[in-house]
């Protein structure tokens, strides 16, 4: 990830920032400025997700670039947040401890670093709740 790209996304990486439509009650992550269900009738407001959810499915990544913040093997999962939206994130846990349907919660961790002298990327991951 290039520094300017990380910079722009920083707020959304640090916190699970999405949107909520007050008209139909739907939650969106990533954020949507227009509610696809209500179109022009939607009342969209910013929303910070609580960070609680469950594992819908997951995969164990064995290969990949060497990275101090994410040594292989690691678990990549699709998580359903309690408010509804789904997202893909790393789960910090032993691969054998991860189960479909398990409860998880968001934590603040290092996502990686450019290099030994480069920028450090921080953001959201999940751990077993």
């Amino acid at each position: 990830m290039a520094v300017p790209r990380f910079w722009r996304r920083l707020k959304n990486l640090y916190n699970l920032l999405g949107t909520h439509c007050k008209n139909c009650g739907s939650y969106y992550y990533p954020p949507r400025n227009i509610c696809p269900a209500c179109r022009r009738g939607g009342k969209v407001e910013p929303y910070k997700f609580k960070g609680a959810g469950e594992v819908l499915t997951y995969t164990i990544i064995h290969g990949g670039p060497k990275d101090n913040a994410r040594p292989t093997p690691y678990v990549l999962a699709i998580i359903k947040l309690d408010e509804g939206p789904r997202l893909t994130s790393q789960i910090v846990a032993n691969p054998e401890d991860v189960k479909i349907g398990m409860r998880v919660k968001s934590v603040f961790r290092k996502l990686g670093e450019e290099s030994k002298h480069g920028i450090i990327y921080y953001g959201t991951k999940f751990i077993p709740a």
Binding site: L10, K11, Y14, N15, K48, K66, N68, A69, R70, P71, V92, V107, F108, R109, K110, L111, I120, Y122, K125
Partner: protein, 346 residues
Amino acid sequence: MSVGIVSYGAYIPRYRIKLEEIAKVWGDDPASITGGLMVLEKSVPDIDEDTATIAVEAARYAVSRAGIDASRIGAIYTGSESHPYAVKPTSTIVAEAIDATPALTAADFEFACKAGTAGIQTCMGLVASNIIDLGMAIGSDVAQGAPGDALEYTAAAGGVAYVIGSRDLAAEIEATYSYTTDTPDFWRREGMPYPEHGGRFTGEPGYFKHVVSAARGLMDKLGTKPQDYNYAVFHQPNGKFPRRAAQMLGFSTEQIKPGIVVTLLGNTYSGSCMMGLAATLDIAKPGDRIFVTAFGSGAGSDAFSIRVTDGMEKIRGGAPSVESLLQNPVYVNYAIYAKHKGKIRL
């Protein structure tokens, strides 16, 4: 105007290594190590945790414990001797992660193990002079000891955040007093991975002189004596130093017991004394008085006289206690520990 603690939050990584495991690697006698230091195990950060992530987790617990609107926070100071960047503040990362940006001031503090309490004093001043509504002071470290060095047995990871304000106090800070001299007992030069220290005889001119002088100075200023306090907390680089400091000053074993967290945690440096205070606040009742003295090599001590208010009962259950954070650890062996601490460069 009364100034004090509105909320607080602590964070401890899940991993631990037993000191006997480290002793085995270096051929030291485990019993003499654990007996000499009065420490049994220490915390180890996960591979993707550092001072900034630990500071953020502690800060988030401090905000959620009392249900604070983070936009009220007008200053964030993070004290550490292991900031992830040499130039680029940790405090801005925390501010962004708790949604306190952009209307606030922020800076990182360094003063060995007392950088976090220096942050508390700074917040007290800004709150008392009405420049800010709330201030946040954090002590967070992923302490490093060179492999085989005596410090490796106790250098641990953890962080604590305090929200300082003048309304809705959980504990009033009645007064603070500091004692500072230029004492080269412990240091780390720019760019070097591990700190150096003056050896095992630095306790007298460093820790004990400063802790005892700051503590006596504060009690003289207030006209209080050890018997006026329910609890006392001292910086704890090991289990022996705080016990001896307490004895020198006339505090009892019972008074310091709840605040001794080093036994199962190790020395969390900037988080050490603040973690002991958090553990004491976890169990303190309204009206209780707590005497706190932090120490940072280099050297200086910050002493605080604290009185718990009725507000404490309202926020007690809002975030994990230090005791609960110490429960259910995952033990690692030396090889995994070395990987987590980056002693093996991948």
